[in-house]
């Protein structure tokens, strides 16, 4: 097979700010933001559930917007400000969405939870969801196999009412 390449592409330096801390990374361009966070920065709070943008477990906030980090190449985000689940609590005080998830038991195994919470925080910032039906629709990119959806909706409603 003469057309086969064994070459790994050249690494590219990038600088990203994650949860307020700057990081310079040398990454092969096929590295996703998700793998950069998990494997290169050891920020494993952001989860990998499918690696195909199908489950939402990898949701992070990039410049305030919720994004599937598994569909985002890290090199595309040079210079970006990223917030992960590890950056939501401030000085030991949980983000209102985090507290609401505990109050409403909006998770069981906890694996989709960081993505759900980042997505919910992004949703609140968007200001688009006004009622339970809209929350359900706008949170449907985040799968929860434990089936905590009604509790997730209740938690987001609490966070909307008590920001």
């Amino acid at each position: 097979m003469s057309d086969v390449t064994h070459e790994i592409p050249e690494r590219i330096p990038i600088h990203i700010v994650v949860n307020g801390v700057g990081h310079t990374l040398d990454l092969v361009p096929w590295t996703t933001l998700l793998d950069a966070l998990r494997d290169h920065l050891e920020l494993t709070g952001t989860k990998k559930g499918c690696d195909h943008g199908q489950c939402g477990a990898c949701t992070v906030l990039i410049d305030g917007r919720r994004v599937n980090s598994c569909l985002t190449l890290a090199v595309m985000k040079d210079g970006a400000e990223i917030t992960t689940i590890e950056g939501l609590a401030k000085d030991g005080t949980l983000h209102p969405v985090q507290q609401a998830f505990i109050d409403h038991d909006a998770f069981q195994c906890g694996y989709c939870t960081p993505g759900q919470i980042c997505s919910a925080a992004g949703l609140l910032a968007e200001g688009r969801a006004r009622d339970a039906d809209e929350i359900r629709e706008l949170m449907s990119g985040n799968l929860c196999r434990c089936g905590a959806y009604p509790n997730i909706v209740a938690a987001i409603q609490q966070a909307m009412d008590r920001p």
Binding site: W30, A89, D105, C109, I117
Partner: protein, 734 residues
């Protein structure tokens, strides 16, 4: 004292989970960690003629490529590969053992590299040639080759004759498709090797001690050579009961390369693990015009692999639910070129009771009886298979409470009679049933003089809430605030526990905590009475209770010694007690949980789109240890039932013996917008016979009956009886 048991206590692991601090199997790191990527077979049956890793090994950063022809030794006998929940009959799958291909998606090589991206890239450079063999993967075309099991319940009376003579008969086949668990966490193992060669295996599993024992026998290791831990498990639902192949591959690579290794499967590769087997359920019911049953027969024909016989109890549930003088059950298996099925939430019951409860609905229609009335006519106060009474059975109350909450009396029984704008409205109901199992579990409690306790056990918490209920029971038994209880789980070096499954862990772990706490109480009572001028002088040990951080006389809390004082006088910094709890064997009663499920669907008449707009699940499951996490478990089961009724199906292309929707976008599971109001009712069910706390377990009962209630609601809405699941809109438009 019950300050915590029975209350809606929030999860004690909640903060770790909402902050990202909870670490799952594929998230542990180590110096010089290597990454493994699996190469899978692309044919369903045959042999590997040639496997060439030459190109892969040329990729910079690749350390090794393990195959059946290049690997360290693996056990060569079936006994070594049989884990504690392996099927009795068969020869367990051995990854990278030989050149034989048994199913499409079988792992055939592990590429190990310095980083994950490199391993993944190099995996595409492994060349494989096969000698292909004829194969079969289709249950329905192979149906005639089914082999009968000798295990289902024994027949009673003459069901065939009774059916033939019945005034009203209903018989139908219900087809339940293959389903995959799809826990959100990818299957993963990180093996951390220390300087002395000892391995810490971070594995995604429902049973660390099962995996530990399995790895020791497969790799011929001594118990101290390795340790298996899984403090957090990102869902499993049965898929993690048996050790999965990635743990074998990760340990194999760590031993061969003398390095720490992580192997994470892709979502697609997880479709090569176990699954709920496709099953054809044939149910026949014969009744008198008044609705009493004369005969029940239930025959299941299910998929298994060619190398193991997997089966569960699909067919016996009518024995528990419905009185009938005649019954006959059979379970058949068809061997196919697939991986072995495995337990998936309420294995057997989810499928079998779905068929039974759809059949009961069809019988009610034929008899012109309300479906609840029919079920009450046939209500059985005894488990007919062994003719036993129940430790408790508040199913009547479930029907009553569920119907009331749902508003069942407002139902017009005629199909297509209820409407909401352009949508047809359907109301359906069904019964659920599961077993209340309990297993030996050991717990260790270490109480320190500052009034803190560490409670430890090898049991897993797969999202079920084990951490929290263990803390609640311990806090109550020790008379301490729950904040003072530290729970350690899921480490193979901790006291004995079986796999977490079958809904048995709540009762089993709770009573193990009580056992160890009782020994702590006796020790503290002895110490407290030895304190100079003890207020407990003359009080017998049985009258001593632990409350509010003190050792006190029951009924007179003023007569008390603080734990700190008692331990200081006894010159003890810590008290450690470990106890293995066995439940007394009692074959005089049947033990079951029950539910009545009510569902409302709305069906777009033109487009066939089905929405489940309301579900009420009334559950009788003994005492509920935690009403918050318990409600969540039932709610999750209902969501699974919605998926089973309307969404979930693993679709196979039988020309290639390959799954076509091996991803989580085309294998549909319910999303947030699919789930609306779910009302969970816990019916009061005191049970002082089953165990001391009266606990039965909640993991499975939530799903059972839900698919049938929804299918019956779809019939009520549309007049169409869909017996091939899932009920997708194309089937309604046909």
């Amino acid at each position: 004292m019950n300050a915590y048991v029975g209350t809606p206590t929030s999860r004690i692991d909640g903060r770790a989970k909402v902050t990202g601090a909870a670490k799952y199997a594929g998230e542990f790191s180590a110096d010089g960690l290597l990454y493994g990527f699996v190469v899978e077979a692309t044919i369903p049956r045959g042999r590997i003629a040639r496997i060439d890793a030459g190109d892969a090994l040329q990729v910079k950063g690749v350390v090794d490529v393990l195959t059946h022809a290049h690997r360290p030794p693996l056990a060569d006998n079936d006994d070594a590969w049989k884990d504690e929940v392996a099927p009795e009959k068969g020869s367990p799958f051995r990854p990278l053992y030989d050149d034989r291909i048994r199913f499409n998606g079988q792992p055939i090589a592990l590429v190990v590299a310095d980083d994950w991206e490199t391993a993944k890239f190099a995996a595409t450079r492994v060349r494989v040639e096969y000698d292909r063999e004829a194969f079969a993967t289709d249950l329905e075309s192979e149906h005639g080759k089914a082999g009968k099991l000798d295990r289902p319940h024994k027949p009673r009376g003459d069901a065939a004759a009774a059916l033939a003579g019945a005034a009203v008969r209903h018989q139908a086949d219900y087809v339940l498709p293959t389903e995959h668990h799809n826990p959100m966490e990818l299957y993963a193992t990180t093996v951390v090797r220390d300087g002395s060669g000892r391995l810490t295996v971070h594995d995604k599993t429902q049973g660390v001690q099962n995996v530990h024992k399995f790895l020791c026998s497969v790799f011929n290791k001594k118990p101290d050579d390795l340790r298996v831990v899984s403090p957090y498990v990102g869902g499993a639902f049965g898929s993690g009961l048996r050790p999965q192949y990635q743990v074998v591959l990760a340990v194999l690579a760590a031993l061969e390369l003398k390095r720490s290794v992580r192997v994470v499967l892709t979502r697609q590769q997880m479709y090569g693990l176990g699954y709920r087997p496709m099953t054809i359920e044939r149910v026949a019911l014969g009744a008198r015009p008044d609705g009493t049953l004369d005969a029940v027969t239930h025959e299941a024909t299910a998929v298994t692999s060619r190398y193991e016989d997997f089966s569960r109890n699909d067919t016996g549930w009518a024995e528990q639910l419905y009185k009938s003088p005649n019954s006959l059950f059979s379970h058949k298996l068809v061997d196919l070129d697939l991986s072995t099925p495995c337990d998936m939430r309420a294995p057997g019951a989810a499928s079998g009771v779905c068929a039974l409860e759809c059949a009961m609905d069809e019988l009610a229609v034929a008899l012109k009886l309300d479906p609840i009335e029919l079920r009450l006519k046939c209500y059985s106060d005894r488990d007919q298979s062994e003719d036993l009474p129940y430790t408790s059975k508040q199913l009547r109350e479930c029907y009553a409470r569920g119907a009331e909450a749902f508003g069942w009396t407002r139902r017009n029984p005629a199909p297509r009679s209820m409407r909401d704008g352009k949508e047809l409205v359907g109301w359906g109901m069904a019964t659920g049933v599961w077993e209340a199992l309990q297993m030996p579990v050991a717990v260790r409690i270490v109480l320190t003089s500052n009034g803190h306790a560490e409670v430890s056990c090898a049991a897993s918490d797969i999202g079920t809430g084990t951490y929290t209920i263990v803390a609640q029971v311990a806090a109550d038994a020790l008379g301490l605030p729950i904040e003072n209880i530290d729970v350690k789980l899921a480490d193979s070096t901790l006291p004995q526990a079986p796999v977490e499954g079958g809904s048995w862990m709540a009762a089993s772990s709770a009573h193990a905590v009580l056992g160890a706490a009782e020994d702590i109480r006796l020790e503290l009572a002895r110490l407290a009475k030895a304190v100079p001028a003890s207020p407990l002088g003359g009080v017998d040990a049985p009258d001593v209770i632990l409350v509010d951080g003190t050792i006190a006389k029951a009924g007179d809390k003023a007569r008390a010694v603080s734990i700190a004082d008692a331990m200081r006088h006894g010159k003890l910094e810590r008290i450690e007690k470990q106890k293995l709890n066995h439940f007394a064997e009692d074959k005089s009663h049947a033990r079951n949980t029950h539910s009545a499920v009510f569902a409302e669907v709305k069906v777009d008449e033109e487009l066939g789109v089905i929405r489940v707009t309301r579900v009420v699940s009334a559950v009788a499951a003994g005492r509920i240890l935690n009403t918050k996490t318990g409600r969540s478990q039932i709610m999750g089961g209902v969501v699974w039932g919605i998926g089973m009724a309307l969404h979930e199906e693993t679709v196979m292309d039988h020309r290639f013996g390959r799954i076509m929707n091996a991803n989580i976008a085309e294998y549909h599971i319910p999303v947030n917008a699919d789930v609306h109001d779910i009302d969970v009712i816990f019916v009061d069910e005191p049970d002082d016979r089953i165990n001391r706390l009266g606990v039965k377990g909640l993991g499975e009962i939530g799903i059972v009956g839900v698919p049938a209630a929804i299918a019956n609601a779809v019939y009520h809405a549309t007049g169409k009886r869909i017996r091939r699941f899932p009920i997708t809109l194309d089937k309604l438009l046909d």
